[in-house]
Symmetry: C2
Subunit: 420 residues, 2 copies
C-alpha cells in the first residue's frame, strides 16, 4: 500500500488534554511508518494548512511527544477559525487540497469540536469530488461536553474535576469565615450554552450541606426571587452559602446576565463575569458579605489536577483516529461508549461525521433538580466516572514541567501565498 504523509491540526478553545490526543495520534502514526510517512501539524490549526505553515513533528523526540500527554494548551497552536460554507468560499477548500497535494498528505486528523467536525466532513467530500484521496478522521475535543454521539468529550472531564475540586476547597474556606466575614461565595464556570460544567461542580456536594449549595444553569432562566430565597435559606440553616454559576446564565428575557452594560473607571465596557453580578445581587438584596471567583482559562488549562479518565480517553481517541484511518474508515470520529456506570467501563466507538457536525448535546432537563438549583442523582451517576483518577504531571522546581516543542517548519513547496 502507498505510504503518504499525514496532517494533524487543533481547533477551537484548547483544553488540559488536547495535547494528549495529539500524543495519541503521533505515537500511533509513528508505529505505522509503512503507511504513514511524516506527520505534519498545522501551525495555529487549520490556518497552518491554508497558509502552508506546516510543522514537522518528525523532528520531535519520542520523549517530547510523550510529554504532550501531560502538557496543557495546544502544542502547535489552535485557531478559532471556521471555514466558510463550501458553496460560499470554495477557494478555501481548494487551497487545502492544493497544500495537501503539494505535501503528499493522504491522512487528515482534525482535533476539535462541532465546527471542526463539519470542516473535516467537507474536506472528505471535496476529496471524493476532486479525486484527490484524503482519509479524514475527526478527533473529538471540547471542554463543553456538547458533542453528540459520544458519551462524553475529551477535555470535559478535567474541567469537571477542576471545578468540583475548587468549589469544594472554597467551600471549606467560606465555612470557616462565615461567622464574622464572607457568607456567600460565587464561582463562575465557562460554558455558554450548556450547563455541563456548572453541573460538574455539583459533584462536590456528596454529603448534606456540602458545597456547592446553589447552582445556576444556562438552561434555567434566572428567577431572582427564587434564587435569593434559596441562598438565604442556606445561610439561615448552615451560616453560609456557596453558589456555582454558568457564564451563560440568562434572564427570563433571554439576555445574558453577564452582559451587564457596565462601564469601568476608564469608561470602557466592563468585560463579562457573571459571578460579580450575582455576588452584587446577593450583597444588595440580602446584605451578606460576598466573595466571587472567575477561573476562566485556569479551569481548562489545569493539567495539574486533570482527570486520569479524561487523559486516557483523550489519548485513546487520538490512537483510534489513526487506527480507523488505517482500516479505511473515512469521515468518521472515534467516540467514547459507556459500557457500564459501576464499575465505570468504556470503550471506543465510531460515529459518522455527517451525524456529528453542527449538533449540540444539551443537558437533559431531568438531570437538573426540579427547583432548578442543583443536579439530580442521575446526573451524578453520569458525571462521577468522568473525574475519576489523578494523572499528576512531573514537577521540577516545585512546578509542573510542561513541554515546549521545537515546532520546526516544513519547507514550503507552493509559490502562491494564501490569505484566508
Amino acid at each position: 500500500m502507498q505510504r503518504r504523509n499525514a496532517f494533524y491540526a487543533q481547533s477551537g478553545g484548547v483544553t488540559a488534554v488536547i495535547n494528549a490526543s495529539a500524543c495519541g495520534v503521533i505515537e500511533t502514526a509513528r508505529r505505522h511508518g509503512d503507511r504513514i510517512g511524516r506527520l505534519f501539524a498545522g501551525r495555529n490549526g487549520i490556518l497552518g494548512a491554508l497558509t502552508e505553515d506546516l510543522i514537522d513533528t518528525s523532528r520531535e523526540t519520542p520523549a517530547a511527544i510523550r510529554a504532550l500527554r501531560h502538557t496543557p494548551g495546544g502544542a502547535f497552536g489552535s485557531a478559532r477559525f471556521k471555514l466558510k460554507k463550501l458553496e460560499d468560499d470554495r477557494a478555501q477548500y481548494d487551497r487545502l487540497i492544493e497544500v495537501f497535494r503539494a505535501h503528499d498528505i493522504g491522512w487528515f486528523f482534525y482535533n476539535g469540536g462541532g465546527d471542526s467536525a463539519d470542516t473535516c466532513l467537507k474536506v472528505s467530500q471535496l476529496s471524493a469530488a476532486t479525486g484527490y484521496p484524503v482519509t479524514c478522521v475527526h478527533v473529538p475535543k471540547t471542554m463543553d461536553n456538547d458533542l453528540p454521539l459520544t458519551d462524553c468529550s475529551p477535555g470535559f472531564g478535567s474541567v469537571a474535576k477542576y471545578l468540583a475540586v475548587s468549589v469544594r476547597e472554597a467551600g471549606f474556606d467560606v465555612a470557616s469565615m462565615a461567622a464574622t466575614s464572607t457568607r456567600v461565595f460565587v464561582l463562575e464556570a465557562m460554558g455558554r450554552h450548556a450547563g455541563w460544567t456548572v453541573a460538574a461542580m455539583g459533584l462536590a456536594a456528596e454529603r448534606a450541606d456540602d458545597a456547592p449549595h446553589v447552582l445556576l444553569f444556562p438552561e434555567i432562566a434566572l428567577d431572582e426571587t427564587a434564587f435569593l430565597a434559596a441562598v438565604e435559606a442556606t445561610v439561615q440553616r448552615i451560616g453560609h452559602c456557596v453558589v456555582g454559576v454558568s457564564e451563560g446564565l440568562r434572564r427570563a428575557d433571554g439576555t445574558f446576565v453577564a452582559d451587564s452594560g457596565v462601564r469601568d473607571a476608564f469608561g470602557h465596557a466592563q468585560l463579562g463575569g457573571v459571578a460579580p453580578v450575582i455576588a452584587s445581587l446577593v450583597k444588595a438584596r440580602l446584605g451578606h458579605k460576598v466573595h466571587w471567583a472567575v477561573a476562566d482559562y485556569l479551569q481548562r488549562s489545569a493539567r495539574h489536577v486533570a482527570s486520569r479518565t479524561d487523559v486516557r480517553q483523550a489519548w485513546a481517541v487520538g490512537q483510534a483516529a489513526v487506527q480507523f484511518a488505517l482500516a479505511g474508515h473515512n469521515a468518521v470520529m472515534p467516540t467514547i461508549v459507556r459500557v457500564s456506570d459501576r464499575p465505570y467501563r468504556w470503550e471506543i466507538g465510531m460515529a459518522p461525521l455527517d451525524q456529528v457536525a453542527n449538533v449540540e448535546k444539551k443537558m437533559p432537563r431531568d438531570w437538573i433538580r426540579d427547583d432548578g438549583f442543583h443536579i439530580t442523582p442521575a446526573c451524578r451517576t453520569y458525571l462521577s466516572p468522568l473525574i475519576q483518577g489523578e494523572d499528576t504531571p512531573p514537577y521540577v522546581n516545585g512546578l509542573p514541567h510542561y513541554v515546549r516543542l521545537r515546532n520546526r517548519p516544513v519547507e514550503k513547496r507552493l509559490a502562491t501565498p494564501f490569505v484566508p
Copy 2:
C-alpha cells in the same frame, strides 16, 4: 508540675495549611498529657473564647486530627475579629481571663497574623497583671507573607505555588490561542498591601518568554503608558502576553485601581476585581482580545496543590508552639529561619511577640525589577524554595477527601453570657 487545659484559636483569613498548624498543636499537646489536659478550640476563633463556645478536641479521633494536615479552611471556624485596645475595652480581656479560669486554661495558642500576635501579647500581659497564669504562644499564619522576623509565613508557600502553577498553565493556553483569539490574559492575586503573591507568579517564568510576562505590584503605582508599552512589546515579540496583577494595585494618586466606582446591571456597586479593569484597559487601548481570571478564595484554599515545604512548616510551627510553651517561654512566636538557599534548609526559631505585633514585612524594592514589571533573581532565590515539593491529599471518588470534625461543644460553666 500542674496539668492544665489548653486553648487554641484560628484568626483571620484561612489558608490551605492553617489546619496543618492546628494538627501540629493538637498532636504535640496529646503527647504531653502530663502537662496539658484537654485542648479546647474556639468556635469561630477568639469569639469562641469570649462567648464560652469551646470545642472539645479530645473528642476527635487521632485519624481525624491527622486529616487536618491535608484539609484546607479553618476546621474550628476562624474570625475576622480584632480585640480593641486594652485601655479601650478592658472588658473583652477580662472576659477572656474569666473563661480561661472557668475552664482551667493555662496554655493559649493563637494562630493568625499580625493582629492576633498583638492579641496574644496583650493576653500574656494581662495574665501577668492579674496574676492568672496563662502561657501565650502565637502560631504564625498568613497567605500574605507579611509577618516580620520569620523568613516566611506558613500559608504563603501554598498560595505562591497555586499562583505560579496557574499562571504557567494559563500561559500555555493563551499561547495556543493568540493567532486568532485571545492575546492578553490577566490573572489577579490577593494581597492588598504587599506584592508577595504577585511576585510568586513570577516563579513560573523560568525561561525566556515564559509566562507571566508583566507583573503589576501594589508597591509600584500603575503607569498606564509604561504598562501598555510593556504589554504591546511582548505581543509584538511572541504574539501574546500574560499579566499578573495584585488586587492592591494603586494609581499614582494612591487610590485602588479595583475601586472603580462601577455599577452593574442591577444598579449596585460592582465589587472589586482589578483584573477586569486591567483587561478592559488593554482591550480599549491596544485592541487585543483579552481574558481575565480572579481566583479569589481558590488560591488560599487550594490544598490539592499545596507546597510540601509549606505544609511541613505549618505543622512544625504548631509543634514548636507547644514545645516552647512547655519549656516555659511566654509571649513568643515560632519562626521559620532560613539556614541556606541551595540546598534549602530551614529550622525553627523564636521571636518575642512585642517585636512581631503590628509590624508588616514589605517586599524589598530591589526584589522588583527596575522597570517595575517583574521579579529579580534575588527575589526568585528567596521565593523558589517555598513552593518546593507536593503534598497531595488523599482522593476519594475523584475528589480530595477533606475532614469535617465533630466539633462537640464543651459544657458551659459561666452563668453570664457575653456580647463581644
